[in-house]
Symmetry: C2
Subunit: 258 residues, 2 copies
DNA sequence: CGCGGTGTTGAAAATTGTCAATAATTGTGG
DNA sequence: CCACAATTATTGACAATTTTCAACACCGCG
């Protein structure tokens, strides 16, 4: 376990105002999440600029917020470690989880329009993010068109993601929603090198329910039904997908297919 | 009323292939929708560049698509006249209306990520849009930072809008959904100079239902209930809001307030 | 004038929500 | 390290909203 210890030292060094080498400080160029956060095919010179995008890292303890609704907006955040949820609240206190974000994904784009955040971003486990002040992002994208295009793509991807959540919320039944949730999460974890079939959920049934527009009891029951039918194994937060094709089939069945 | 007549002549001139002055062709600087489509506070010189953003206009007949899912992406579209719906489809044919767009609003941002459109944009009445090839938008925003910021804002605004639709779909009951729909549409129409209370819906009950995650019968019944309660007057597509405060109150009531 | 698409309304069915009780797990403090 | 409290998860019974199916009315257009 020497590597984590080194990482820890690096992090605590980050916090200190005086630093030896800027390259060591925060090196996107060496980051294993590069392919998720950054555009591909940058030149050396462009990388040098990009490395200056990230002005620091920030740790967020489980349960606390990276930012909240109405907080002033000044930066985008790239998740290094940990899982977040984003949520919006109605005036009467009801809230809606709008997404779960994992390493390599970007948080904060909701703040650009009004220079104020619209949602809360809460860590579901101890997490760390890279802070990218948005004025730097904007400035650098004026000269590095690969970065410009990347910013456009990341925002467009979020629009498309939300489109598909709207499809889920607007026209799927409980089983379909949960199947879509599990397949999507497994796919994103797998892209990051985790198991294709096993996962440990970092969110509660209530949070899953909020995201899927269901009550927590319905989520729990649907998990149980999937388990009974042999599609998955569930033990609290530990989920193993046994028959991904069956889950995919649930998604594609119109409601009147018995 | 000499201005409108001039505008009309301008429009018909646009249709002709041979044009005298490019400045006359498509003049964002003179467009009454400027405040919706474009950044505020541009210099003369910047306007000159912006006017070159729009390469042409395109008419879309009622019922036909401006673009469809899987169409190659190359432009954003600013709506001049008419109302559109956007919709996404599941593999089994079910579809979900993801939004209704009116004059001054921007279509096509879903296409940026994969250079292919993710949704369909269908005109609900005869419509006309300004075509803004995206590579021009990108290039010009590298030099005109007000435009760059505007593009970021428009995309962020769409992310925020979809967030609030997720809240609607995930945690509101039928009455709340319809109230939110009516208030939102009325507000957008009013910002464009239409009546605050009277409107003619361009979409069917089915389309409203799809957008709100409800069946068309539920939409119809909820309209009738609002009318019975004196909140609105409904006659087919003609709707008049009588007590906007009551509609707003419906939105803010938690479901267990009787 | 009639036809097709659209809208309204009723009755019954079904999915999901609500309430409640219990079990399992996690975190905390002694 | 154990025990207790608090949070989270599961399951059942019942209620409620919404969907489904069906019949009919309305409107606009050819």
């Amino acid at each position: 376990m020497s590597l984590p210890r080194a990482a820890l030292r690096l992090v605590s060094a980050d916090a200190a105002p005086a630093l030896r080498g800027a390259a060591l400080k925060i090196a996107c160029s060496n980051c294993s999440l590069r392919e998720f956060c950054l555009p591909a095919g940058l030149t050396e010179a462009e990388f040098a600029g990009i490395d200056k995008l990230v002005t620091g890292r920030r740790k967020v303890r489980r349960g606390s917020a990276l930012f909240c609704s109405n907080d002033p907006f000044h930066a985008l955040y790239a998740i290094r470690t940990g899982v977040f949820k984003t949520r919006v609240s109605a005036s009467d206190g009801r809230d809606q989880v709008t997404g779960f974000q994992i390493s390599g994904e970007i948080l904060g784009m909701d703040g650009i329009v009004n220079q104020v955040h619209y949602c809360d971003a809460v860590a579901l486990e101890d997490a760390e993010v890279c802070v990218m002040p948005f004025d730097r992002v904007a400035e650098l994208s004026r000269s590095v068109s690969a970065l410009q295009h990347h910013v456009h793509r990341v925002m467009s991807r979020e629009i498309v993601r939300e489109n598909s959540v709207m499809l889920l919320l607007g026209s799927m039944r409980a089983e379909e929603r949960l199947a879509a949730f599990l397949l999507n999460l497994a796919q994103r974890l797998h892209a990051r090198g985790f198991s294709r079939s096993e996962m440990v959920l970092r969110m509660t049934r209530q949070e899953i329910g909020s995201y899927l527009g269901l009550q927590l009891e319905t989520v729990s029951r649907t998990f149980s039904r999937f388990a009974e039918d042999g599609l998955i194994e569930v033990n609290q937060r530990k989920v193993r997908i046994l028959y991904p094709e069956a889950l995919r089939r649930i998604l594609q069945q119109p409601p009147d297919c018995l």
